[in-house]
């Protein structure tokens, strides 16, 4: 949803503008920008609640580059603005299936490896992933899962998977992310269907299951699913792992687990649109975020699964012990990731909206 993103945008742009006014004079050109003739500007288009403002400020201070930020809260929102916006954005943060779609459509600028010396900080299993072999167009930023968050003060029965959550006794006590593709993938997991095998038949097959599950849900919230859990309005959630990790940090009664029906891995990446006007500055920014100590600060603020191995070494034992950030005993890289499904996303959205509205 756009509104919190807008609020966030206002909150982020104001301080940047202030920094830009003060910081523009003491600029020091950086060494690794080849033949730099770009303006000292870079324009980010990134997820809300993902890059701490202090990091952006420090980047401006160090390089003299004026950073402007715009936020989005879904890949599709980013896609529609990017495709309409021409060369407005220099850096975007698409998730894995969106990288795939953008590459297929020739919308991304090939990265220049020479400008990304810190790429080696990324753990080997996160380099050259299936959606972008050889990291030609994208570099992993953060990864995570969608899993189950339980308020153990209120829920005493053991919860292991979706089938334990979506039960009559939990009616009106559940929050889930408002993301049709996600919701459908859970039912695919329960029905033992491959999560990317989105066909009309498979959607028809899982429809009865969703019709059983979704009436138990009280809140659909992708922006901040932790809010309703924290306020006690719901006791169980199927939420982004980073949100659950923050809840766990606040209160240990909020536990997190990966559903036994199977979870998938999402990887949010940094990429440069083909029409970017400041691609060199964008490279500088990507390389800056890949630094171990900078990436560690991102983890401090937004405790997702950090694919930056060098940064992970700097994390405290408590951070690494957070079950939502670093779930135990799972071979994370063997988890599946979403593939691009193109026009099928409309069918997926219609199915979920239909069931939400109580239709047949």
């Amino acid at each position: 949803m756009k509104i919190p993103a807008l609020r966030h945008l206002i909150l982020t742009i104001l301080p940047i503008a202030l920094v830009a006014c003060g910081g523009a004079t003491k600029s020091a050109p950086t060494a690794n920008a080849p033949g730099s003739v770009e303006d000292k500007k870079v324009s980010l288009f990134c997820w809300s609640e993902y890059i701490p403002q202090s990091i952006i400020d420090d980047f401006s201070k160090e390089t003299g580059i004026n950073v402007s930020v715009e936020n989005y809260s879904s890949n599709e929102e980013m896609l529609s603005k990017l495709l309409a916006g021409g060369g407005k954005y220099d850096l975007i943060q698409p998730s894995e299936y969106t990288v795939e779609a953008l590459v297929k459509d020739g919308q991304l600028l090939p990265l220049s490896p020479a400008a990304l010396s810190n790429l080696s900080n990324i753990a080997p299993e996160f380099r050259s992933m299936s959606f972008d072999p050889g990291n030609k167009f994208s570099v992993p930023f953060m990864a995570g899962f969608v899993g189950i968050c339980v308020n153990t003060d209120k829920v005493k029965t053991p919860i292991q998977g979706f089938r334990d959550i979506f039960t009559p006794e939990h009616k009106g006590r559940i929050v889930i992310v408002d993301d049709a593709r996600e919701i459908v993938s859970w039912a695919f997991g329960e029905s033992k269907i491959e999560i990317n095998d989105i066909t009309t038949e498979n959607l028809a097959k899982i429809k009865p299951l969703l019709k059983k599950w979704l009436p138990f849900v009280k809140v659909y919230d992708s922006d901040s699913p932790k809010t309703s859990l924290k306020n006690g309005d719901v006791d169980l959630g199927v939420v982004w792992s980073g949100e659950a990790a923050r809840l766990y940090d606040e209160n240990k009664k909020f536990t997190f687990l990966l559903p036994q029906e199977g979870a998938h891995l999402f990887v949010d990446n940094m990429a440069i649109p083909k029409n970017a006007t400041h691609p060199q500055n964008a490279h500088l920014f990507i390389n800056y975020l890949l630094r171990a100590e900078i990436s560690k600060r991102i983890s401090d603020a937004f405790p997702y699964y950090n694919p930056n191995a060098a940064a992970r070494k700097l994390l405290s034992p408590e951070q690494l012990a957070n079950p939502a950030s670093y779930p135990p005993a799972q071979d994370i890289t063997r988890m599946q990731t979403f593939r691009d499904i193109g026009q099928q996303s409309a069918a997926v959205d219609e199915l979920v909206t239909q069931i939400k509205a109580g239709g047949k």
């Binding site: 949803m1 756009k2 509104i3 609020r7 879904s74 599709e76 929102e77 896609l79 529609s80 495709l83 779609a101 953008l102 297929k104 459509d105 919308q107 009106g172 929050v175 408002d178 993301d179 049709a180 849900v217 009280k218 809140v219 659909y220 919230d221 809010t227 309703s228 306020n231 006690g232 309005d233 193109g342 026009q343 996303s345 409309a346 959205d349 219609e350 909206t353 239909q354 939400k356 509205a357 109580g358 239709g359 047949k360």
Partner: protein
């Protein structure tokens, strides 16, 4: 309606008198504004609603009626119906709460009137989103109301108020009430006291005077208020998502979703066009009603 009459007259002046261009000059900024920000976007919306889209959700301008045929699927109609219902309930509550308030303000002494009107407008000083977030912290299970009720032992268990139809209607009423009070207030203010006195002289009791004299005289205000509340309340999506939790989607939420997550702008545009037609119908019905009332008085 008065504006439209004036516009017509201006047009006629252009033909018969030389001074006409001055009227157009004065109208210019408004016409430019309407053309750029109302007419053009509306045309774009209509154009998009007859178009198709590609894999990435870009609009492809080739003609299709599919978006409209899809609109008449029972799911979307039931969501339309749901949104209308919320808007009707909110409008009725706004009339019931707003009318007495507006009447009291209109009948108050001029000094008090100014204070009371300021009080009605004060909420506009804060963004409605911030006020909606405030409601979330008031109504949630561990929020203000529940903690007060629990700590004073009035209730044994917290009330579930957030993410219910109750919360949606409350959010709508809270945000749109001033839009009901202000137009009714203007009609009440214009109310001729001597007509009410005449009603009493002719033997009407307070109830009769209210129903046969005061209500008909303030009807234009009620109609304007109802329009100002009902129309935006149908399309509102921010309050309904934040306070309703999205489990009973409204048409505004569905349209927003088409433009973002579903990668289907043409379908969202088609729903938007239908919504506009619905508003047009409301406007014509209410407009005709007030006009005939004007004539009869």
């Amino acid at each position: 309606m008065a504006g439209a009459n004036w516009l017509n007259r201006g047009g006629r002046d252009l033909g018969s008198h030389r001074a006409g261009w001055k009227a157009w000059l004065l109208l210019g900024p408004l016409l430019l504004w309407l053309g750029l920000f109302v007419l053009l976007p509306t045309l774009l919306l209509v154009l998009t609603s007859f178009s198709q889209r590609d894999e990435l959700g870009r609009v492809v301008y080739s003609f299709t009626l599919e978006n409209y045929t899809r609109c008449f699927d029972p799911i979307w109609l039931s969501i339309f119906w749901n949104s209308i219902l919320y808007a009707v309930i909110a409008t009725v509550i706004c009339v019931l709460v707003g009318y007495p308030a507006a009447y009291a303000i209109g009948r108050a002494s001029p000094a008090n009137r100014r204070i009371l009107l300021t009080l009605v407008m004060i909420p506009f000083w804060t963004s409605f989103l911030i006020r909606t977030y405030a409601w979330i912290s008031i109504l949630s299970q561990e929020g203000l109301v529940n903690s007060l009720l629990l700590s004073s032992h009035i209730l044994p268990a917290p009330l579930s108020m957030m993410y219910t139809p109750f919360a949606i209607v409350l959010g709508l009423v809270y945000n749109y009430l001033p839009f009901m009070i202000l137009p009714i207030y203007t009609s009440v203010e214009k109310l001729d006291n001597s007509l009410i006195e005449a009603a009493y002289d002719l033997g009407a009791g307070p109830l009769r005077a209210f129903s046969s004299v005061i209500i008909p005289l303030t009807k234009p205000g009620i109609a304007a208020g109802a329009l100002l509340v009902f129309v935006p309340a149908i399309a509102m999506y921010a309050i309904t998502t934040l306070m309703g939790g999205g489990s009973n989607p409204t048409i505004g939420e569905v349209i927003q979703n088409q433009f973002t997550r579903a990668r289907n702008q043409p379908f969202g545009a088609a729903l938007g066009v239908l919504l506009m037609l619905l508003f047009l119908v409301c406007f014509l019905i209410l407009g005709r009603k007030t006009n005939s009332d004007d004539r009869s008085t």
